[in-house]
Chain length 207, copies 8
């Protein structure tokens, strides 16, 4: 029996950004670095735009894994920030789980580095804990296609929904009329092709 | 328990073409534009050939998304045409759902741009509403392979059947003898390799 | 609940070769033609080696689709050969279904051209009819990767097991000791790398 | 109903290395040989690091398939070593199954060559026998992407969890603090990018 | 010493279309068939638009190579048409060379199937005969990338200039103002992305 | 006889940015749009950083080709800006050539859309006019790899040097000590991997 | 100054097959093994068909490199066979050079394994010795694309002409009428798509 | 006029390893990191094996570029080591040029990171200074294929010979008999496929 349609809802979703650290990012080779950086920041902007509670977490950021990329830190200066001392699965960290619980949300949007570990582990744990889990595939990176698709298979077997930052933005927005300019700005800042459409449109319509 | 074989049936199928708009098409980069244009027009011709009720819909066609590609408009001058004022998921638009209901069909053949949004959202909603949903993968386009396969996974989890325009044409036709020339023309117009076979065949057999 | 392990068994399996026709083969572009030809003939040799009842069928072979490739005809001169007059799904053809029933086998090994039609349609029908279905993915060809993987998804949703000719050969053989030379010959004839291993081995061991 | 999260556990897992033989390795063409060698040895080192009982098995190692690669033999001098006289599915070999049982573990981590046979067959049998099965996709190799993904589909249908050596290492480790230096050494030896991070880090921190 | 810039000139160029035959086209696998068909027809339309003398030639069109694709025949009903009885290199055919000479042009634009034979041979001969040769790479097709690039290397060594139909159209046109609507129509008919730009532009400007 | 090493020199180089227009950019499909946008802006920043005279030019920017992307316009508010009324080859436009001459530079760094036309044409003309020409390959885009490499071959035959924005930046800079922070900022803004190195470095060294 | 057109000529060409040995073939990963085997045998058949003197040579065939593949040995039972005791560049072996001289031919068609060594070295030496050298790119294999194209660049710099077995066959044949059936058989045996054309043609014309 | 065959010669060649630094390596994305690490170490071992004078150089190793990878430092403890304070082109550094001159060699084998800068710049300078330059393409890495092939084109225009570490090893060795075991060890350590051949060979011959 197929699963019912579980839609992302701005009133019930939180964002978990896991281990987007300067060192770990050098391991990501299944997405081009320019594109990946853009996708991660797009997801960050999405969280801000929809005012979703967002939780940042890192693994050993004082070691070779390196610090969280500064752009995310600046984007969420007041977000719960759990620098895990050693737990690989963020869900094994009590502070992290408490921060998730504190949001009071049932839907978790997760992205991170690398996909089969920092994303898949907490995603599987969250499913087990009863959450609805949405993984943002294009803001999550890993070594290569084999590792990516193996992780996807494991997660979908468990009931995770695979999405993209653009899909999540559209599903959360529901209707352009909710904030047309806001959504257009988000898309224009992160989809060059869309920005070009807007540039030409604005020129011709005198905006 | 695997799902039973649900076959497309000309007497019970409708076609939904979602957001094939001149601006949005510039976002499609997982299929070559020559091939994609051909696939979309093939699906249109298929709908005409099998006389399937067809519904056109667009999103913000007065803005940067641009107008529906003229070929589809010309192909279906009398089809219901729902220019959605803001709903991203076409299924959130009452007129659209009413148009679907008005067809009286149970099977929905859906294609559109982009796959993870304009196709996946109404596909998931239609499943939820009790329809049998068939997504035409090669007449639906999106940003890249990650976004395509993430969308496929989400849709198949929900029970959507993934097809192609050629597969749909063959399943609807059932038997060449139902209209041999009609099907041959459809294939010849949209599959260059098949047209070449017919060219050589006709030459040698004096047709 | 995952499906139990259904193993191919020489005493209970039949092979269905669907529409490997000279014209239709020009449509196959998801596998290199040298490799595809080799895979199809390997599957033919496999059927002979394991003495599996084999059924040949074609679609419109007097038209542009062209005749069955001669190698298969020669390999199975006495096999049931159903030249379908118009049914696209071979399972819609009574003679074909009767030929399948006449084998008395429960496991069907299917390959053909193109994957999403000539293979997927009878595979889905056979599942519905209660057979255990194994599709030989690398002896089945189609237009491109999108059409291949869409067909795979639809078939696996229905319970088809996806295999390869090599996997099928090994699962049917069970134990090299059942006929070591026979299996070695089959592999040597169709896997150049394996033939090279045998060439070097035989040289060094004086064979 | 999605499967629950079954986590790898050092106290309950054994490793099965199937047919990584010098001759058979020439058949592996879906992973670059430098990378594949590294992945296999990484899995071996992982087994040592976590002190997981490990079983080696080969198929016809006196014939063209060739001997087990010496590195694995040296890594596990005292491991059960089942040189199968003819069984293709290692699970058909009583000694092998007894060796597995003797470990007393419920979780089996399997890798081998080639994926759709030497890995998939015992994986499916082990599932049937009640084990929890984790296939290390990147330490398993085969002919090409078609054969790889067909094997993956068959295994996931049956409930196998697809993983990678890195994912398995991280899931087994649970917490860096369990043995920080040990894990860092494992990663540094098998992930050049990670080694580079450590090199730069150590330089700057004077280690 | 680099070669000087030799520009295509409408007053001095002829087009040679070599062996675009229904049968031979099934050999072309380095370009997608939809795209290749479009490129060939674009080149044909280009020749018409710039009123360049055009010569058609075929090899054994009564045999398996098949007839010239009908679209080209219809496009150039009055063009010299040399059905070569056996010469593989069209330049070995006296009628063909005479037809070329009769154009009185010094620049030859060549495309055909397959690149390393039907294109490269006459291209090399024409260079030797003192012509300036421009090969339209994307309206010439062959088996795969190895054969394509080997042919390119041989031709560039001899002084052939590699171009594309779009590049040739732009170089011949020189200035949009020479016939703005004509060029726009050519591009719109063969570049879907450009057609989309025009569709959106026309909509917004009320054309 | 190979060409001597002609090095880019800040005192003798000018930058020509040709037709990076919002509409035309939708034609670029040989580079991912995120990466391409980054490369173009990196080239712009490079020109600013080295204070190279820069010339902007567009083709029909009031039509479907669309306006120059705003980022470039903002970056060079005072640069010569030649909106060509119809010349396809910018070098056919007298104002453009005069602007180039007015720079007094001998080395021209060119990038644009699309490579085989807007870049190759003026590059070939400039070579003919006696300039040393350096094409920035990764800030120039076109339809696909065939069109890209055909353009490269034609340009290198004529003596153009193919470079990248990063290569040009490094060759112009000569020595990090000329402005260490300036170069580091340029690289950090346009190479995510390099930014990550700096992030980790700065963290560890307390900067 | 471009090189003149040097055409292969049956009266002046010899074929050198270098190191197609069972062991070395496992190193070839830039061409699929099924395709590569076919190309090598096609080149052998071509040499037989045109009665070109052919020379076989191997490197250390008693060691791990393994024996010459038996098919080539059987195809040329009386050809000079130089089992080089140690020279890596076949041209460094006096017997080999003498065998080449003994053919009295000026044009050398070379193929072998691996491209950048066993092919490139004698090709460069033969150029230096005054021969016209044609390398059959698709019957020569190596580790990957980087090694392939680096070897191509080095060879073309030195004046080697890059060809394919099909191109060589067509250039040697000159005219189908020289032996229509012979050439058709050669093509049919090694180009599945061409064989299919012939199968369909023969069927329709009653042959 | 093609260039004559310039062969690498152990008595006249030196190796320059440029900027293989832990930080810069994270920029290399045109070769898989496992393979690239292997290629670089293979080149190092080659230099040792042939006793070629070797020069190490780095750029800003105290900054984000990071230190030389330790393996190279350990391999050449006594080699000239030029830590350039700022020159990007190593040839602009007097100490480096002096170290090159001090070797007294005329042939320079160069590899480094990244190809279009750290390799191409000194390669072009060395050509200008009268050296024969051989670039080891597979031990040189950069951002992507565009940057790789642009760099190759620029270097071959200037007369650089593109090679691979394996090609260089074979050209330097000339004859297996010069040191059969030494070369076999080098190949076995860096080519897994070759090691497998030796493993099987040794087993069968009792070594």
């Amino acid at each position: 029996m197929p699963t019912p349609y579980v839609r992302l809802d701005t009133t019930d979703a939180a964002v978990l950004l896991v281990d987007h650290q300067a060192g770990l990012l050098s391991l990501v080779r299944d997405i081009d670095p320019d594109k990946f950086k853009n996708n991660v920041l797009a997801l960050g902007d999405l969280a801000k735009f929809f005012k979703l509670p967002t939780i940042l977490t890192t693994s050993f950021e004082t070691g070779p894994n390196g610090p969280l990329v500064p752009e995310l830190k600046e984007l969420f200066p007041d977000a719960p920030y759990i620098a895990r001392p050693g737990n690989i699965n963020a869900w094994d960290n009590e502070d992290f789980v408490n921060a998730v619980k504190a949001t009071g949300k049932k839907q978790l949007i997760i992205a991170g580095v690398v996909t089969e570990v920092c994303v898949a582990f907490p995603a599987l744990s969250a499913i087990e804990a009863g959450y609805e889990v949405f993984v943002i595939t294009d803001a999550s990176g890993t070594f290569n296609e084999i590792t990516r698709y193996a992780a996807w298979d494991r997660m979908t077997q468990a009931g995770v929904q695979l999405m993209t930052w653009f899909g999540a933005a559209c599903e959360l927005q529901r209707d352009w009329r909710n904030d047309m300019e806001g959504l257009a700005t988000l898309l224009s800042n992160h989809i060059p092709d869309y920005r070009n459409l807007m540039t030409s449109y604005n020129k011709l319509t005198g905006q």
